[in-house]
């Protein structure tokens, strides 16, 4: 029998770049196939070829043994290939059923009316057939991200998709929602659908996929059955060398109190309370991690701490001085480094080159500023040293920030902030969009800072990251800490429960960590954590 999808010798060249180089990919009907690789490995390009956005320079796509030639995504949809983008393509104020049928509305009255009854029925039928629990009349803006993802899947199924391509499907989900998604995969494949998903997470490829294809630098490194490989094998295939999977933390006695946050409340931009009474303290030589699903108040908390948002209540004390209400400049001058979550909005000026970006935040200080003038020579040297130390590519201080890939932009920001010689580093998603090799390097740098006696506040939605690096780990849910746990002993399931707002039955873990903050870290730090 022919495979459901067979991509034969696909080469895709862009001016100056070979994104895919003679890639073969065969996916059996009714299986889940993971396409694994680092950023820039060519995964997305390959899938764009499959669903008709790009035409391959060389090679052919076969569906069920039939050669295909797609001019547009429309052709791919007609041939039964559905794409579910990482950023959902949904219209927020419209209902679930309106979104599902958008562009293919059933019509009555000679086309003058959308047949709402038929549309709703089709959506309910599909939803029931695949065991989705979706209310067809709910508005997209009112439902959870997990449900939105199902609406995207329903959209593809409604258009008759047999092959579903999903781009980083778990990036925005809670651990529980991820489990539900795996159930959905099973339901779909049981009914003969084929799923290909793009990922750079090893764990998810291993647990969800039947087969895994690894791409590196646009080349297919190999296709393996998920039962035959380990995480280490996959990491090596992806990076091309052996990778140390767990950051090696060493026990360390925390020093003086650097940051103390007491019962802080803060509103979001709409004036709705986003942070509802958070307290913690952070000592020198300590990493305090905050885990949680995005949008639970972490942004507002971090903004309050870094001086970008005035808290509505509570106190923030940094190096013994009250900081609430102080300007952002004051925060920077007192040695608080900040890696923002949105690197393009807040981390860099996209139209500046790296020399200019490199002095952002230090533009008033020597050696960059002298007598009201900027010293471009010193600025350039600084940018070049960051580029070299943090392996930013291309290594060109004159390159504009927007010409860099997301991962390299991130490395440059992290480098700039770490080189400030801060007392406190506030890092939000420091490795988001960064490939495994660079992630490993950034983690090592973070731990070096800790060893040098700096305090680190680490906010991340990557569980293994916060769990592996933190000395103490808080889980945030709807603006409050649902628990502060010892990352060495807590399980992923427990963190998942806390992220969903549940409390842990064993309150001794929580209680000890909250009240005894920072004292029993000797043991916490030395465990090798398996995430």
């Amino acid at each position: 029998m022919n495979p459901a999808v067979h991509m034969d010798g696909i080469t895709k060249r862009f001016p100056g770049v070979v994104a895919n180089d003679d890639v073969d990919l065969a996916v059996e009907r009714g299986s889940v196939h993971a396409l694994l690789g680092e950023n820039g490995a060519g995964k997305t390009t390959l899938m764009n070829v499959l669903y008709g956005l790009y035409e391959p320079t060389e090679g052919t796509v076969f569906l069920d043994g039939e050669p295909q030639s797609f001019d547009s995504p429309r052709d791919a949809i007609d041939a039964g290939v559905g794409m579910i983008h990482q950023h959902f393509m949904l219209v927020d104020p419209m209902t679930v059923w309106e979104n599902v049928v958008l562009g293919n509305e059933p019509r009555t009255w000679g086309g003058l009316r959308v047949d709402e009854a038929a549309a709703r029925e089709a959506v309910v039928d599909l939803s029931e057939r695949y065991g989705f629990d979706v209310d067809p009349d709910a508005r997209i803006e009112d439902v959870s991200v997990g449900v939105q993802q199902r609406v995207e899947i329903l959209k593809a199924l409604y258009r008759g998709a047999d092959v579903l391509i999903m781009d980083e499907p778990t990036a925005v989900l809670t651990p529980q929602e991820v489990e539900d998604l795996y159930d959905v995969f099973e339901e779909l494949t049981d009914q003969g659908k084929t799923i290909i998903f793009i990922s750079h997470k090893l764990g998810e490829a291993l647990s969800a996929a039947d087969d895994i294809t690894v791409l590196r630098d646009g080349v297919n490194v190999g296709t393996v059955a998920s039962t035959d490989v380990t995480r280490e094998d996959l990491a090596e295939m992806m990076v091309g060398r052996e990778v140390l999977m767990e950051p090696a933390t060493t026990p360390q006695e925390p020093g003086d109190k650097v940051l103390e946050v007491t019962d802080v409340h803060a509103d979001d931009d709409r004036g709705v309370e986003a942070v509802s009474g958070i307290s913690f303290e952070l000592r020198a030589g300590e990493v305090f991690g905050i885990a949680g699903v995005d949008g639970n108040g972490q942004s507002q908390l971090v903004e309050a701490i870094t001086g970008m948002r005035e808290p509505t209540d509570g106190e923030i004390t940094y190096l013994g001085e009250a900081m609430a209400g102080e300007s952002r400049r004051e925060h920077i001058d007192r040695g608080m480094a900040f890696i923002p979550e949105d690197r393009q909005e807040r981390g860099l000026v996209m139209s500046y080159d790296l020399t200019e970006n490199g002095i952002l935040g230090s533009q008033h200080d020597p050696p960059f500023a002298e007598d009201g003038r900027l010293d471009w020579r010193a600025s350039r040297d600084h940018a070049e040293s960051v580029i070299e130390q943090y392996d930013v590519r291309p290594p060109d201080a004159d390159a504009e920030a927007e010409s860099l890939s997301g991962g390299n932009q991130q490395k440059f920001i992290v480098g700039r902030e770490f080189e400030r010689d801060p007392d406190l580093v506030v890092a939000m998603h420091p490795t988001r969009g960064v490939d495994i090799g660079s992630t490993e390097f950034l983690h090592d740098r973070l731990l070096e800072l800790r060893a040098e006696g700096k305090a680190v506040l680490l906010v991340s939605s990557k569980l293994d990251e916060v769990q592996g690096l933190s000395d103490r780990l808080a889980v945030i849910h709807e603006g409050e800490f649902s628990g502060v746990v010892d990352p060495a002993t807590v399980t992923e399931e427990e963190i998942g429960l806390l992220m969903a707002g549940e409390t842990l039955a064993d309150d001794s873990v929580e209680g000890a960590a909250v009240h005894d903050a920072g004292t029993d870290l000797g043991e916490a730090g030395d465990e090798e954590v398996d995430a």
Partner: protein
Amino acid sequence: MRNPLADVSIPVLDDLIKSDYVRSLVVGTVGVLGALLVLGTLFPESVAGDLSGIVFSTSTAASTARLAAPIVLAGLGGIFAEKSGVINIGLEGLLIISAFVSVYVSSVVGIGNAVLGVPAIWVGFLGGIAASTALSLVFGIVCIEFQADQIIAGLAVWLIALGLAPFMSTVFFGGVNTPNLGASVGWKYSAVMVVVATLASWWALNRTAFGKHLRAAGENPKALDTVGVSVSKVRHAGVLLSGVLSGVGGSALALSIGQFIGSGETMVQGKGFIAIVAYLFGNYNPIGTLGAGVLFAGLDAVQIRLQQLGYAIPDTLVQTIPYVVVILVLALVGRTRLPEAAGEHYETED
């Protein structure tokens, strides 16, 4: 604070108007009018008596319909454009050009003549619509294909029409004001066109596939693009509809008196801008836009009469009444939500 007016339930309206905001506007207006009628009937000698005498007269109804037509129709057009993601602030210009061309074409055909059995004045009416549609096509191409700034392009449409219409009038008729045609389109036609256009727009926006596509194009164009519907086609359709509807409004305005007045701000006198206020006021709901447009035109008609009554209030102050009311209502009733992608250009990836 929740607006108490929003809780009033009206059987038919409830189905048509889901927005609390628009509903409270409708309920409030009807309530004020009702109170005025009751007070005026009870105390015919009082100010309320004078007012209700003005408000509930046929001549006020006629001038309300005449003044409301361009506001409501251009407002409906504005909804189609803006819902699709193109903010059309050139409605004023579309009204001006159609007002002039409708009179010009009528006079070229000659009152008393007919083309294919259509009387001259209605040929002129269609000519006005065609002119406005053509100008909106240019606006659409500039904004959608060449990605010009929508606000600047919209201002250009207004300024071009503002200059062109009186100029053409001078060229063809020897003055910025055209001579009177000696024939007109009755106010009842305007009223019927306004009501029909409102209901048809409501249906198109809420019940047809095109309405859904329009909304998607303005909220998340990428979502529409990825399901294979051309965003630029939908946006062009939205802009062209704004041209057609404004054309009806401009033609109705000029032909209701049978003359184009081109002095100063022309006879359109900012009605295109008030139309924008009307549809924002109505929160992009055609019914709400109708209500807002009629309210506005009604206040305008009433203030003209009020000036004739001889109260010791300066006329200039009376003239501001409609504007003051708009600001008051906007401040009290709440605010509208713009489509997410309104004003943003969209380019397909491939």
